[in-house]
């Protein structure tokens, strides 16, 4: 019934029990977990798709797959609630349940041949990173990449290796980093993301903007993009909602008649403008 | 239209016209003859929706919680049980007395809507009083700013502990069996909690994001819920009977509440909650000469 290539098995609610093979401490409250299973990579998501991660005795929660390798998936997880609190205590070797991929992912065809402005804030860079890395791997299919990222403080910046090394080596790629509040060693920009974005002032011509971050940042980023003449069809974002099943059955992640887990989490601003503002 | 209804509308209209209150909470006629349902009046011209009849059983006290941060005042009609519910909220520091205007309604007892639905309007005369009204000890509001009509004579139709005395005769096994079968049909909709003026906590151990009770609906979980809630409102339960009235499964919840009230009376002396917003709570105060020796 499902038109994706994965075999959903007997019940779409059954996870694969894999293993955590690496944990990277990104910030004081964000860790990236590398997960694999006996059969290799638990599933192969497209950028922007989601995975349901579970610690068997604790619970499940939905996270974006921030990137993937040939044999593993990566989830960058901020400590926020019960499950994530326990996740932050586990060590390499921990058995972990994963199921997916869920959701629509970023509209690759919309991005093809265009310049892309990536605008991330805090842990919101996690889903954005899946698209950035996809562009890096398929570099010829996309135009210039302009990555704009901000966090509360220098130590709250996620994926520092990508920001300050890896992505800088990619051709036609710029990385702009800002923090709300600097420290003694910080030499970069200090200020909020929307103002920083306006300063950089990317052209809307043949460009798609992709943004994800805290709701308040997104709100002002959208205003800034509008000021710079980005049209709603050129703006893509990915939403977060409480989810339980991941397959459009359990009810809670709806916005109007759309389920974020199934029909989202990625929407263009044009699509969002047609939906009730309940997210 | 009865006299009370006319007077209710008059008072509500005046309060709203003079902008003394932002809202008046009362009853309007519901779907069927046996439904009188809460209505929230904000415009003087809507005051004519208000009614007073035999089916105004819903206790409004809990609904006041939604308006505690309003700038202005809210007026609310209170029967005896509602007034005690308001006292509950005042004493628990949930709402401030000066933010509410209480219009007292001496209450002759409300009719049982569930039985009325079964009997139909032709046999309305046969509809008995709500269970909760039979054991009511305070039909007249214990706190109000204005009273509509005269106080009604206090007529206690049933000793509120009568059911308990009977129940206490049972053996432990019989009691356990009884409660197991009662709570086996609990669907954990939390209507009893949500309608209860004593269940006014900001967050509750039974909220689903708390880990104290699994959401699986089973015998032990259901009984845990019923018991913990009963104990948590112990000494604060105003015995309005709304939990039992609201329960879609007809669980005799007041039996638990009355058992606890009876025990409190026996251990700490005669006490009825919600009569006075200032009084000491039997289980919520410290005394050096507490009769319980562990102190």
């Amino acid at each position: 019934m499902c038109n994706c290539d994965d075999n959903h098995g007997a019940s779409p609610l059954l996870p694969v029990v894999g293993k955590v093979i690496k944990i990277v401490e990104e910030t004081p409250d964000v860790k990236t977990f590398h997960v694999t299973s006996d059969e290799g990579k638990p599933f192969t998501p497209m950028p922007g798709q989601l995975g349901m991660v579970s610690l068997l005795p604790v619970g499940e929660a939905m996270f974006s797959v921030t990137t993937q390798g040939p044999d593993h998936l990566e989830f960058a997880i901020k400590k926020a609630g019960t499950l994530t609190g326990v996740l932050h205590e586990i060590e390499v070797g921990q058995a972990i349940g994963v199921r997916g991929p869920y959701g629509n992912g970023f509209p690759i065809d919309l991005f093809k041949g265009k310049d892309i402005v990536f605008i991330g804030g805090g842990i919101g860079l996690a889903p954005v990173r899946s698209m950035i890395n996809y562009c890096v791997e398929n570099r010829d299919n996309f135009g210039k990449l302009n990555i704009i990222y901000g966090a509360r403080s220098p130590e709250d910046l996620c994926f520092k290796e990508d920001l300050f090394e890896n992505w800088l080596k990619v051709r036609d790629t710029q990385v702009h980093v800002t923090v709300d509040k600097g420290d003694d060693n910080w030499k970069g920009n200090v200020g909020f993301v929307p103002a920083f974005l306006e300063e950089i002032n990317p052209t809307p011509e043949n460009t798609i903007a992709l943004t994800c971050g805290p709701p308040i940042m997104i709100k002002f980023v959208l205003q800034s993009l509008a000021k710079m003449n980005f049209q709603p069809e050129q703006i893509v974002t990915t939403l977060e909602m409480r989810m339980k099943c991941g397959v459009g059955k359990c009810g809670r992640c709806n916005i109007g008649s759309k389920y974020v887990c199934l029909d989202g989490p990625v929407f263009t601003l044009a699509e969002l403008n047609e939906m009730p503002s309940e997210y | 239209m009865n006299q009370q209804t006319a007077r209710m509308r008059e008072i509500a209209r005046e309060l709203l016209e003079k902008k003394e209150v932002e809202m008046v909470i009362g009853w309007e006629k519901g779907t069927f003859f046996y439904n009188s349902t809460p209505v929230f009046i904000t415009k003087p011209e809507d005051a004519d929706k208000l009614i007073w009849d035999d089916y105004c059983a819903v206790n409004f006290a809990k609904l006041l919680m939604d308006y505690r941060y309003l700038d202005g005042k809210v007026a609310v009609f209170v029967k005896g049980c509602d007034a005690r519910g308001v006292n509950r909220l005042i004493q628990d520091l949930v709402i401030k007395r000066e933010k509410i205007y209480l219009i007292g309604m001496p209450c002759p007892g409300m009719k049982d809507a569930k039985i009325a639905a079964k009997l139909g309007q032709e046999k309305e005369a046969e509809v008995p009083l709500e269970g909760k009204c039979l054991y009511c000890t305070h039909p007249n509001p214990v706190i109000y700013d204005v009273l509509i009509g005269d106080e009604v004579p206090v007529e206690i139709r049933e000793d509120r502990f009568a059911r308990i005395k009977e129940f206490e005769e049972k053996s432990s096994d019989e009691k356990a069996q009884f409660w197991a079968s009662q709570y086996d049909r609990c669907i954990r909709c939390y209507a009893c909690r949500n309608v209860c003026p004593a269940c006014n906590c900001r967050s509750c151990v039974f909220d689903q994001n708390q880990d104290w009770l699994e959401r699986a609906v089973d015998r032990s979980g259901n009984q845990f819920y019923g018991l913990v809630r009963a104990f948590h409102v112990a000494g604060r339960c105003i015995e309005c009977g709304e939990c039992e009235r609201a329960c879609p499964m007809g669980i005799p919840i007041m039996l638990l509440k009355h058992k606890i009230s009876k025990d409190i009376n026996e251990l700490f002396g005669e006490y009825e909650a919600g009569l006075d917003p200032e009084g000491d709570l039997p289980l919520g105060m410290y005394k050096a000469d507490d009769p319980d020796e562990f102190m």
């Binding site: 959903h8 019940s11 779409p12 609610l13 059954l14 996870p15 029990v17 068997l56 005795p57 926020a80 609630g81 019960t82 499950l83 586990i90 060590e91 972990i96 409480r242 339980k244 397959v247 059955k249 359990c250 009810g251 809670r252 709806n254 916005i255 109007g256 008649s257 199934l262 009730p276 309940e278 | 519901g30 779907t31 439904n35 009188s36 349902t37 809460p38 209505v39 819903v58 609904l63 939604d66 639905a117 049909r185 669907i187 954990r188 909709c189 939390y190 209507a191 949500n194 309608v195 689903q208 994001n209 699994e214 959401r215 699986a216 609906v217 709304e242 609201a246 879609p248 499964m249 007809g250």
Partner: protein, 334 residues
């Protein structure tokens, strides 16, 4: 059409019960629900059950899989799932239709809910038409027929001292054939039913509501709601569920159970953000889900079957039929 003498009903049920578990509506501690049939059971056939038979297909609490954990290791274990055929006797047309709504939800749009599907495939429906709908019934307003559930395997009507039975599916015909000894050919006129006394306007309701998301009427409608889960838990079409863990030592079970959009925690995220923070948003969600979102998502499907259970049981008489009337009454662009 066949007839079954009421005196022979226990024999009929006993015979069916030999091959499949038969569920019948019975009052248990004051609440009517469908439970396994036993000799001597007193069936409630004059009114619909308090608890909808939905739970035979989608139980309030349902185990999904087991797991074992030891230190860092863990494995998922299968639970026994021997699903035997069963019969639901006396299910009303509104509740039969509610299963069609659940079919759309659980079995379409890319994923099949196997837990529901297994039960749906095993359940045979013998529906009893309603000759005299209750005062709270309004199935006709949704285009349903209280006398007929087209997708029931057998449709049944009360004909005084006998039941009149008509097979509507192959499986239903098999049942009729297998009980031929108890059934007689019925030649007379089937009884005529009374219409629902409660009616609401449902035509064009979805289109009406589409521009009303921000309407002030939601504030008004939601005010008396106490945000309990009664309406959702007793609704035959409500299907929202939570997925949770039950861990005992080194073993555990992953299960799901009914959830309700009335609860604030339903949409509350770990970081503290809640897209539906007050009862206005939650009550709006319940009604728009039924009247707009389900018809939009499942092409013309209805989200309410007019069974009236929520009208009967709501502690504050927040009546779904009056809500619909109110939604038509108010000026659309306020």
């Amino acid at each position: 059409m066949k007839s079954l003498s009421k005196a022979n009903l226990p024999q009929f049920l006993e015979a069916l019960n030999q091959s499949s578990q038969v569920y019948v509506p019975v009052v248990v501690d004051g609440t009517s629900r469908f439970i396994p049939w036993e000799q001597g059971a007193e069936l409630v056939l004059d009114k619909n059950s308090n608890i909808p038979p939905k739970y035979l297909f989608f139980p309030q609490t349902e185990d999904l899989y087991g797991y074992k954990i030891y230190k860092q290791s863990g494995e998922r274990t299968e639970l026994p799932s021997a699903m035997e055929p069963f019969v639901v006797f006396g299910i009303r047309p509104c509740d039969v239709y509610s299963l069609e709504v659940l079919d759309d939800i659980f079995l379409t749009k890319g994923y099949e809910d196997v837990h529901y599907k297994q039960k749906r495939e095993q359940g045979l429906l013998i529906s009893l038409g309603c000759l005299e709908p209750e005062a709270t019934c309004f199935c006709e307003s949704w285009g349903l027929n209280p006398l007929n559930a087209p997708t029931a395997d057998i449709m049944m009507l009360d004909g005084g001292d006998q039941f009149l039975l008509k097979a509507q599916t192959e499986a239903g015909q098999k049942v009729i054939d297998s009980q031929a000894g108890l059934l007689e050919e019925f030649q007379g006129e089937p009884p005529v039913g009374k219409p629902c006394t409660l009616t609401v306007e449902t035509k064009g309701l979805m289109e009406r509501l589409q521009p009303m998301f921000e309407h002030a009427v939601w504030d008004e409608i939601s005010r008396k709601c106490i945000n309990c889960g009664t309406c959702t838990y007793l609704c035959p079409t409500c299907y929202c569920f939570d997925v949770l863990n039950k861990t005992r030592g080194e073993e555990g079970i992953k299960y799901r159970c009914y959830d309700s959009c009335m609860y604030p925690e339903y949409t509350l995220m770990a970081g503290g953000h809640n897209p539906r923070p007050t009862k206005k948003e939650r009550v709006r969600q319940r009604f728009l889900h039924k009247f707009q979102y389900i018809p939009e998502r499942y092409e013309g499907q209805i989200g309410c079957v007019g069974c009236g259970r929520c009208i009967v049981k709501c502690p504050v008489n927040l009546d779904i039929s009056r809500v619909i009337t109110r939604l038509w009454e108010v000026e659309a662009d306020v």
